[in-house]
């Protein structure tokens, strides 16, 4: 077999990881909500995400877990094409991501936008409909009612006319979730949805996500709070620039994997506490 001299093959989907032979790189599951193959992203000379494969299952809640700077958000953004990939392919329900945008909803990090922007809560939620209505299509009464309904689902119905700068952090996050709901998608990608929100908002968000899951949707969230992984998620993907592990939480979210992902950054007592199923609340 002719192996290329460089570690990264010119055909990124075939890139071998950790010296594994090509034959063991699984093919793309035809209908996985999100399949990432050989994705590498680099901001400077060092890759932020290196040759990552990941498959996120249907009707489940998946967490992307890893230390700061491990490339969690970068992987999500690269999968969406929000930032360019150096190499690799991304499939959404078996289609290239560019052809499946109508099936994806995205919740960026709350702090990534300027909340002083002159607009109202309702306006932001309606942005979730822009793809459907196009540049000049009319936002009819039915669409507006749908947007209002999405606000209701996150418990923000009364705030439709508020200026977004007047919202608390938790309310901002709910508005972003409502915008994603307005997109009527099958796959929901969320970047740190629980960062800096109050407990009531966290509860409200998780309820909405669990309802989505029960409707057959797939949810993938970048998650930083290790103590809630077992409570919230079914599937875990652990990353530190490279893929460390992925699978059902009970299999993938183990002390050994956490040690490998975080290195010395977690004390061993924490590891045991976090990853033993007995601590489920």
């Amino acid at each position: 077999m002719n192996r290329p001299a460089t570690p990264l093959s010119s055909q990124p989907t075939l890139a071998s990881r950790d010296g594994r032979p090509y034959a063991q790189v699984e093919t793309v599951p035809a209908h996985a909500p999100l399949a990432i193959r050989g994705v590498t992203v680099s901001y400077g000379e060092k890759p932020a995400v290196f040759s990552v494969d990941a498959t996120f299952p249907a009707q489940s809640m998946s967490a992307i877990i890893g230390p700061n700077g491990a490339g969690k958000s970068t992987l999500l953004k690269a999968a969406l094409g929000v930032i360019p990939r150096l190499s690799g392919e991304v499939y959404v329900y078996g289609q290239p991501v560019a052809k499946a945008r109508a099936r994806i909803a995205y919740v960026p990090q709350r702090a990534s936008v300027d909340w002083d922007f002159p607009t109202t809560v309702m306006d932001v939620v309606q942005m979730g409909l822009y793809r459907k209505v196009g540049l000049l299509g009319r936002l009819g009464g039915q669409m507006k009612a749908h947007a209002q309904d999405c606000l209701e689902r996150v418990g923000m119905a009364d705030c439709a006319k508020r200026q977004i700068g007047q919202l608390s952090g938790g309310q901002q996050q709910r508005v972003f979730l409502a915008r994603a709901l307005a997109q009527d998608a099958d796959l929901y990608l969320l970047d740190e949805p629980f960062a800096g929100v109050d407990a009531a908002t966290e509860r409200a968000i998780i309820d909405v996500l669990k309802l989505l899951k029960s409707e057959g949707k797939a949810i993938v969230a970048v998650h930083h709070d290790l103590s809630t992984v077992r409570d919230y998620f079914d599937h875990a993907f652990l990353i530190n620039v490279r893929r460390i592990a992925e699978g059902p939480v009970d299999d993938a979210f183990t002390p050994e994997v956490l040690q490998a992902t975080y290195g010395g950054r977690l004390a061993s007592t924490h590891l045991d506490e976090l990853s033993s199923p007995g601590t489920r609340r």
């Binding site: 953004k77 969406l80 094409g81 929000v82 560019a98 945008r101 994806i104 995205y106 960026p108 702090a111 990534s112 936008v113 300027d114 909340w115 002083d116 922007f117 002159p118 607009t119 109202t120 306006d123 932001v124 942005m127 822009y130 793809r131 209505v133 540049l135 000049l136 200026q163 977004i164 700068g165 007047q166 919202l167 608390s168 952090g169 938790g170 901002q172 915008r179 997109q183 990608l189 800096g196 929100v197 109050d198 908002t201």
Partner: protein, 310 residues
């Protein structure tokens, strides 16, 4: 106000108003994107392009001027990238170095060139020549319906009116893209909106406005039109839609009031000569912004310190 007003003041005021609106419309988005100084950079960078275009063609016409300005803009982008990479410095610094150098070069070339036959010299490049854009054939208000007189309207009026209309049209058509790509670029990209193209289109529109407004207010003062009316408008409302209308109103007010004050203001104080209309327009726009800062109903950045707090 009669024949004299129509002949001497009507077209300069209209040109001033169209210039101000053409700059204010893209200015709204540049400000919200924290790119306000791109307007400044563009207005400086286009000068050598316009001068070189004039030297090559010998005429001050729309197409050569716009081509020259576009060429200068491309040179500027390449230079900024080069300075940024070779010097390993932040883009703002690279931009500052490149655009001032190019502007200075433009002034030098202009000074050494015989442009006495046309309205293109250092003074006009800096301050515009609004006062000279008069309507010779007008004899009074009835000239507005006289085809012969209308044919004698200055070309600059049609040029800036067309640019203003084009920018207004593009702003209307691409409104949703502009809004979502300005507020949340990552989300815009995720839903398939070509956010990078929207950003480039916005800068191209700003460049177009800067070149077209060059005649009226000169290349330095054009920056006031990009920033002051939209910034004042932001302080009047918390809705982007309303902000746009406020910025158009402030731009119009600045142009009209500035022109009138420049022409008649000094006379009221016993001075003999009028002052630069372009200078006065920019000053008025600055004063409007100052008043908006003091009395505008939405001058508190309510969202500013909410980041990170639940």
């Amino acid at each position: 106000m009669g024949a004299e007003f129509v002949q001497f003041s009507l077209t300069p005021i209209l040109i001033g108003v169209f210039s101000a609106i053409a700059c204010a419309l893209p200015g709204n988005f540049l400000i919200l994107r924290r790119q306000a100084l791109i307007g400044d950079a563009i207005s400086h960078v286009v000068l050598p392009g316009i001068v070189v275009a004039f030297l090559l063609t010998g005429v001050v016409a729309a197409i050569p001027m716009l081509s020259g300005a576009a060429g200068a803009a491309i040179v500027a982008v390449v230079l900024i990238e080069t300075v940024k990479r070779l010097g390993k410095i932040e883009p703002g610094a690279a931009m500052g170095v490149v655009f001032t150098t190019m502007f200075a070069a433009g002034v030098l070339i202009l000074e050494q060139t015989d442009t006495s036959q046309v309205h293109l010299d250092v003074e006009h490049a800096l301050m515009g020549n609004l006062e000279s854009l008069i309507w010779f054939r007008a004899e009074g208000w009835h000239s507005l319906v006289d085809p012969v007189a209308l044919a004698g309207l200055p070309d600059e009026l049609f040029r800036i009116a067309a640019v203003c209309a084009l920018i207004a049209l593009l702003t209307g058509v691409f409104w949703r893209w502009l809004k979502v790509a300005t507020f949340d670029e990552a989300f815009a990209r995720a839903v398939g909106i070509p956010a990078a193209a929207v950003g480039i289109g916005l800068v191209v529109c700003a460049a177009l406005a800067a070149v077209a407004a060059f005649d009226a207010v000169g290349s330095i003062i054009v920056i006031a039109m990009f920033i002051c009316p939209p910034a004042a408008a932001r302080l009047m409302t918390n809705r982007l839609e309303s902000q746009l209308w406020w910025s158009v109103a402030f731009a119009t007010l600045s142009a009209v009031l500035g022109y009138v004050l420049a022409g008649y203001g000094p006379l009221w104080f016993g001075a003999r000569n009028a002052v630069s209309a372009a200078g006065m327009i920019a000053t008025v726009s600055g004063l409007i912004l100052g008043l908006a800062c003091l009395y505008g109903p939405h001058r508190n950045r309510i969202g500013a310190n909410r980041h990170g707090t639940p």
